[in-house]
């Protein structure tokens, strides 16, 4: 008998509002065009049609407005006052005794982060702003990796992973935009998550960090990349790496920045959906990575559908 067990803690708020017909698809509007307007509260849907002047400032009926607000507010991400990441400064940490022989994973992760900066994929995040109107920056830089072959801990303790980051990153980025993904050789077991991101400080310097299980042979965290370009383990890590970095860029710390009414971040809202077979990064590397949520694309009806049928995901392809 084949059994797979995946257990997780998750919370989800349910909408009891009346259902509305989806607004008609408008002219494609690039997320960048929304800019700061996309940042705050989406109370107006873009009903523009190609060649027509934009229809703005729709004054909905009481009933439709309330229902529309309830539905929209639960679907789109909203801003909660916290910081967003400026130019991310990334350095990967490979933690665990088995990283001495990793196959293609270390070189592959190096390539992933090298190509992430300035990619169309990274650009899926730039519509989101902070309270000053500053946009999330897609221009990440990659400072290489560190290997720590001491025994790694699992992902149950955020402080343990932060302690590892502080141990091996002796000079975190002074800008406070350092992002340190920790790749361990610990199998997921029955945990219901594949990876996570968080934030803390090392010596008073703000850092963002993430934790990754070893995902070799783990169907619960496998994007099913059939391209043959990467090992299964590397392909799995790449997909979840994209998810976590995109979230760290738009919702890095406490208080939070961008997430929806149920707490879902841009990566969560498009998890396990892929808008393109492969996404090409700025260094030419190609990856099967999930899409990322765009409020602008959702409101314009130009994104691809997530698992709930909401057309707000951008593939970055």
């Amino acid at each position: 008998m084949f059994m797979k067990t995946t257990i997780a803690a998750a919370s989800l708020s349910l909408c009891a509002g009346a259902s509305l017909a989806a607004p008609p698809s408008g002219a494609p509007v690039a997320p960048q065009a929304y800019g700061a307007a996309a940042g705050m509260h989406h109370e107006v849907e873009d009903l523009a049609t190609r060649g027509e002047p934009p229809m703005l400032g729709i004054h909905w009926t009481r009933e439709l407005h309330a229902a529309h607000q309830a539905r929209t507010n639960r679907t789109v991400m909203t801003y909660h006052g916290g910081k967003i990441m400026g130019d991310p400064s990334v350095k990967a940490i490979f933690w665990g005794s088995s990283w001495g022989s990793s196959g293609d994973k270390i070189a592959g992760i190096d390539s992933f982060y090298t190509g992430f900066g300035g990619s169309k994929y990274a650009n899926t995040t730039i519509e989101y702003t902070d309270s000053t109107g500053t946009h999330v920056s897609p221009n990440s830089t990659y400072g290489g990796h560190v290997i720590d072959t001491s025994a790694a801990s699992g992902g149950g303790s955020t402080s343990a992973i932060l302690a590892e980051v502080c141990k091996v990153i002796t000079s975190p980025a002074g800008s406070g935009n350092g992002y340190y993904p920790v790749y361990t050789d610990v199998p997921r077991g029955s945990a219901g998550y594949c990876a996570w991101h968080s934030a803390g400080t090392c010596g008073g310097v703000q850092v963002q960090f993430a934790f990754f299980f070893k995902l070799d042979g783990d169907a619960g965290c496998d994007p099913a990349d059939t391209s043959g370009l990467h090992s299964q383990g590397l392909a799995a890590l790449a997909n979840v790496s994209g998810h976590e970095l995109a979230e760290a860029m738009t919702d890095p710390a406490n208080p939070g920045a961008w997430y929806d009414a149920s707490g879902s971040e841009n990566g969560d809202k498009c998890a396990w959906t892929f808008g393109a077979p492969l996404v090409t990064f700025s260094n030419g590397s190609q990856w099967k990575v999930q899409g990322e949520w765009s409020n602008a694309a959702y409101n314009a009806g130009t994104g691809y559908a997530n698992s709930s049928g909401q057309k707000g995901c951008l593939s970055g392809g």
């Binding site: 995946t6 997780a8 803690a9 029955s190 008073g204 698992s307």
Partner: protein, 181 residues
């Protein structure tokens, strides 16, 4: 059913984390002291859910939304022909028709599904979660948190059975920044 639920092992995790932090602080120079801000978001509880958890969160959401909206057709489309539910006060099985008559005939409140777990056994998925109704407005008493176990047939996407109980002391919801609930 195994359940990776921070509240049940919370005290052990907190102690382990505290001990680890204490050990780390004793060997690291002061300049590298790790520090997690209070109420930090992110971490295991909000990590990237596995495929199964994502799938069944979405399915349970749609099912609950259809029930809340009184959408009989949508609810029935997700029920197996031989669906049954067992819940308090009687442990006797109730069939789909009777259950729908009771459910759709009563006022349902919005709520939160949390602590969802999935166990896949061949073509069956056993999904458990806590359902926490939204607080009642005015003088009405809030409904209690329920522990729900749903048994789904994976190939058909149909709900075979539901078991509902009312835990005496449900684990507390993890604190979250305002606006996430």
């Amino acid at each position: 059913m195994k359940h990776e639920s921070p509240p049940r092992r919370g005290h052990v995790r907190v102690l382990s984390s505290a001990l680890l932090a204490l050990a780390a602080s004793s060997i690291l120079p002061a300049s590298a002291q790790p520090s997690l801000p209070p109420g930090v978001r992110g971490g295991p509880a909000t990590g990237m859910a596995t495929r199964s958890v994502s799938k069944y969160l979405d399915l349970e959401r749609r099912f609950q939304e259809a029930l809340t909206n009184g959408d009989r057709k949508s609810v029935q489309s997700l029920l197996a022909d031989d669906f049954e539910i067992r819940t308090l006060p009687s442990a006797d099985a109730i069939g789909a028709d009777e259950w729908l008559r009771r459910e759709l005939g009563s006022r349902r409140r919005d709520g939160i599904v949390r602590d969802l777990g999935v166990r896949e056994i061949d073509d069956v998925a056993v999904v458990s979660f806590l359902f926490e109704p939204a607080p009642a407005a005015g003088p009405a008493r809030s409904a209690p948190t329920l522990f729900v176990v749903d048994v789904w047939r994976q190939s058909s996407g149909k709900l075979l059975a539901r078991y509902v109980d009312r835990p005496a002391n449900p684990p507390p919801r993890q604190s979250r920044p305002s606006g996430r609930e």
